[in-house]
């Protein structure tokens, strides 16, 4: 642990209750661990790294958790921390959460995303490939090959570009599903739909996209939206539920009027 506890004397002493589960087929449960001398400057994942080093030293199986960039941009990290997907800070991924947010003596319960379409692979790692399958159904645009188009060839109003870019902030982490009491992925699908529907490039597949992506969402077994707005509160990228309204509007239009308008 030396080298990690810099700057704050003895650091934080915490009780961690971590979900341990061998695989999807084996039932899991919460196991308590003590973490000593945790520096408030550490990130939450660094704290788990320390715990894992200690487990490895004792010859125990380290806790499996997802992570990659640790910069808040890849969407790999997850974890429901004391009931909050990505922890207590708003607009913050777990990898960007710092231990200074916690107090000495805190009990921290760490659970995986919970949804039928997100089965646990091991401990805190869940299988989010359902999102890939939804994305594959329509999260793309068709582009002609050939010479590089002139940068100003397709003008886009600033307002529309902003709406598209806000939706494109989605990193596909699945916190919306984790937070939703219905395990609905409507915020994710809405973000992917909205990202394209505000751009001229998104128009050719616009209505087929929304029908196909929503159909895949439903087929994966995600719940329906009851407008609790929990997703918006949990989203580390602050995607607004207006993307759900936009998706609903396009879905209903496509369903009632037809796909090729």
């Amino acid at each position: 642990m030396s080298g990690h506890g810099h700057g704050s004397g003895s650091g934080l002493n915490l009780t961690l209750k971590i979900w341990r589960q061998k695989n999807a087929g084996t039932p899991g449960g919460l196991v308590s661990y003590q973490a000593h001398g945790i520096s408030p400057d550490m990130s939450f994942l660094e704290m788990l790294d320390i715990v894992n080093e200690q487990l490895a030293e004792r010859g125990e199986e380290p806790v499996a958790f997802d992570h990659d960039c640790r910069e808040g941009i890849c969407g790999m990290c997850s974890l429901v921390i004391n009931g909050n997907p990505h922890g207590p800070d708003s607009a913050t991924t777990t990898c960007q959460l710092h231990m200074r947010r916690f107090k000495d003596g805190d009990v921290i319960t760490i659970e995986p995303w919970r949804a039928k379409p997100f089965p646990v692979i091991r401990d805190l790692v869940v299988d989010r490939s359902a999102f890939d399958r939804i994305q594959a159904k329509g999260g793309f645009v068709s582009v002609n090959t050939g010479g590089t188009p002139d940068a100003n060839a397709t003008p886009i109003a600033k307002h529309e570009a902003d709406l598209s870019m806000d939706a494109a902030q989605c990193i596909g982490c699945g916190a919306c599903v984790a937070a939703c009491k219905n395990a609905s992925a409507m915020l994710f699908v809405g973000a992917k739909v909205s990202q394209y529907l505000h751009l001229p490039q998104g128009q050719p597949e616009r209505y087929r996209r929304v029908l196909a992506m929503v159909a895949q969402h439903d087929a994966e077994g995600f719940g329906g939206c009851t407008n609790y707005q929990e997703c918006e509160a949990a989203c580390p990228k602050e995607i607004s539920v207006r993307v759900i309204a936009e998706m609903n509007r396009d879905f209903l239009r496509a369903t009632l009027i037809g796909t090729e308008l």
Partner: protein, 243 residues
């Protein structure tokens, strides 16, 4: 990208209906549209009730006019019945789907944003349904009360003898227990509407970040107006203002 990746069957009328019934958004749209019709009825019904303040002549005349609508009356009743059933069907289906989408709950289960009204939709909905059935048995089918409703007849100007629905209402809500049941049920209806009305807009896609705060306020304001409009009559009867 392979042209086969997005495959959606060409729409026909049956396809449209299939798609609405099969998808979560379609089911929600059914809830929203039927909800809209039911909210419309709630306000018409409330406006009718408030005529109790104008005395027995006005109220009985209004009731007589409604009874005289014949085919239109039955048509509207039929529509309401279909609306209630479709609203329930979609609600129950979605609820069952939503429960099965989260088979294992969290050890620490937290709410981050939802209003009390949103959280209790599943409870307030069925209670309001029970109340409506009870209310119909009471005043429309006359199966509940032993207050002698059949004998209450009113001499309406230029018409003659009509059922004295004014008197039936007064007799009923002079009873504090019946008034309490009514006030409680209508308050729960208001709770249901406070989330339901704004949810309707969001579900049908009639919402964006500019309108959203206004939709939210309007939804709660309409719910409050409905509650106040409904409880005014029985409370006025209990207080002796209407007699």
């Amino acid at each position: 990208m392979d042209g086969d990746v997005i495959k959606v069957p060409a729409p026909g009328v049956s396809k449209v209906i299939d798609r609405l019934l099969a998808s979560t958004i379609g089911q929600k749209a059914i809830m929203a549209v039927t909800g809209f019709a039911l909210v419309g009825f709630v306000f018409v019904h409330m406006a009718g009730h408030l005529q109790m303040f104008q005395g027995p002549e006005a109220y009985n005349k209004y009731a007589h006019m409604l009874q005289g609508m014949g085919g239109i009356k039955w048509g509207l009743r039929g529509l309401l019945l279909v609306g209630v059933f479709a609203h329930m069907w979609a609600g129950v289906r979605l609820m069952m789907r939503n429960m099965s989408a989260r088979p294992d709950n969290y050890a620490v289960n937290k709410w981050l944003a939802a209003s009390a009204s949103a959280k209790t939709m599943r409870v307030t909905g069925p209670i309001v349904l029970f109340f409506i059935v009870y209310h119909l048995l009471h005043f429309t089918l006359l199966k509940v009360s032993s207050q002698g409703f059949e004998d209450m007849v009113y001499q309406l100007n230029g018409v003659g003898d009509v059922p004295d629905v004014y008197q039936r209402m007064v007799v009923s809500y002079q009873n504090p227990v019946l008034t309490a049941i009514y006030v409680l049920s209508v308050t729960l209806l208001g709770t249901h509407l406070a989330h339901g009305i704004q949810s309707m807009f969001q579900t049908l896609g009639l919402n964006n970040n500019t309108y959203r705060p206004a939709v939210q306020v309007a939804s709660r304001a309409l719910a409050l107006i409905a509650v106040l409009g409904f409880v005014a009559v029985p409370l006025a009867i209990l207080a002796g203002v209407i007699k």
